[in-house]
Subunit: 183 residues, 4 copies
Amino acid sequence: MKRILSMAVLAFAAAPAFAQEAPVYSANITQSEVLAAQQAWGNALVAIGKAYETGGQAAAAELANKVLDDAYGYNLGPVLFKPTLTEAPQTFRITKEGALAYFVGGDEDYPNDSGFALKGWTKVEIKNAAIHINGDVATTMGNVMITNKDGSVTTVDKTWKFKKTDDGKLRIVVHHSSLPYSS
Amino acid sequence: MKRILSMAVLAFAAAPAFAQEAPVYSANITQSEVLAAQQAWGNALVAIGKAYETGGQAAAAELANKVLDDAYGYNLGPVLFKPTLTEAPQTFRITKEGALAYFVGGDEDYPNDSGFALKGWTKVEIKNAAIHINGDVATTMGNVMITNKDGSVTTVDKTWKFKKTDDGKLRIVVHHSSLPYSS
Amino acid sequence: MKRILSMAVLAFAAAPAFAQEAPVYSANITQSEVLAAQQAWGNALVAIGKAYETGGQAAAAELANKVLDDAYGYNLGPVLFKPTLTEAPQTFRITKEGALAYFVGGDEDYPNDSGFALKGWTKVEIKNAAIHINGDVATTMGNVMITNKDGSVTTVDKTWKFKKTDDGKLRIVVHHSSLPYSS
Amino acid sequence: MKRILSMAVLAFAAAPAFAQEAPVYSANITQSEVLAAQQAWGNALVAIGKAYETGGQAAAAELANKVLDDAYGYNLGPVLFKPTLTEAPQTFRITKEGALAYFVGGDEDYPNDSGFALKGWTKVEIKNAAIHINGDVATTMGNVMITNKDGSVTTVDKTWKFKKTDDGKLRIVVHHSSLPYSS
């Protein structure tokens, strides 16, 4: 008998319909939001290249600035950003200025930066190895394949951590990108 | 033109199908889990009463003990529990012993407790006013209607905060229950 | 030998000093922030009463409106608010309008509300039974003692859940207040 | 006058002493816990190498297995692990088997793995560029310098995300390590 009672306790009955009509607030990030934010990053990379082609460095910088404001978390604090092609002692770009220099160059404080987003990328494809969702943050890891004008594809290993902020936007707070190791 | 580029950037394109096949870990609590855990609480209350009827106080205490282990967060630390019918200086039952005494009585350290779950409740209905989901915790607030053997219904105002622990279980970490105010 | 190795692995050595100098972003709520936000609620209750005394209902409403904007989470979504003295069918005040009516009255949609904050409270004391901290939210449960002009003290059982928003403010997202049960 | 009232509201007074004595549960991860967990990872890497030297591959594998159980989150689900020296199609090691193969080799399913932890590392130094704390997870990014037997130092760019589980342990749920880019 006790066994039956226990089962009754543990049987999670379907909740009645009216309960589901209560207003719900959720701060949580969802998988589909994460996948969309990844793709938006790819779209932005291509768009900055197009802005450069059409309007030059100034237009590219203006758009990149907007992307950094909208899609990165520099408004919250330091962003843990290790771009694919940076070198010591400027490997990590925890400020917005450092990120902007990486994407569009033209900053004398970052003399090695020629503008990664200005290279005319035409397509970005994302292949996640796994996703870790935890509250309002989610981390993805996998490959990102970016296609050049001539059709050649560069593959990088990439980790992103997105945070959903109060305004409902997903912002990149961690971004580690690296060229694949080759023995 | 810039306007069009911006739109392209912000257009969150549907993510490609393969991305959705990556293994996903999520610590997040969901609304349906919360609704099920609420109903399980109601089922447990009724089940403890039935155990009492069939097996006496010992059987009720055994089942209540199991429910507290499975469905409350006393294993994590203090639980913020204000039962409906407790009085100062024993209003708050932040230890498992205090909660057990409230549900099944029989504890000389809690002389005013006669066993709320032993009163023979036959039905529990939950009507949420709103739900607040935040990571692995969710809080509900609303009315709970519990029906007695003779069919009379008692309504209480109830707040529950559930935490989803590493084992995937939802545990009550906050429980504030009160009789409705009457002017 | 294996035992010694294991101990070496598990010995969490003090981290070197330089590591601590890295810039840190934290979304987490702290206990001291929670205690300060509780006291700020008490201060606000007294201040609204004083505004009423000096400037009448309009001044009280203006200040209460500001308090609700600053210290409650209605900007995020529904707030799970069960004030001490509300009755069905208006027990739960999940909108800002409902909360404002409770505090300062004067809203024909809430005819039973006479303005809880207008009663001339002079002092608010908070005694927590326990606190549950989880990411950017924290819940407190305990007694709140509010003193009237004539020095009489009313004690309520109160649960608050605070959420630290992106701007660093703590906002009340759950508030369940009830008069103590008396057998 | 209104200005003074507002200031009174916003002045976060010091909370009274008794409030601080309430029992507190916190799920949150702290900076010092994160720094200690980083150092523990370094200690473990050195310890596995010593176990290999003293007890051979079996001893190293036994210790590495224990480290993976204690300090990684494979018990929770897939871990987002990109070791420094892995190559496609086995770049990402989201299962414990893949991680173990990387650290100690000897797994025919991972024929390119010779055992990174068996190389006799003698010292691990960690230099964080920034830290992002969010609830029970925290991400660090920076350089890790590992010293070989002959005193030569290898520097890698490393991102770790730790999750504090219910048992109070910090577990690595994301680990992206890469050799520095060189133009």
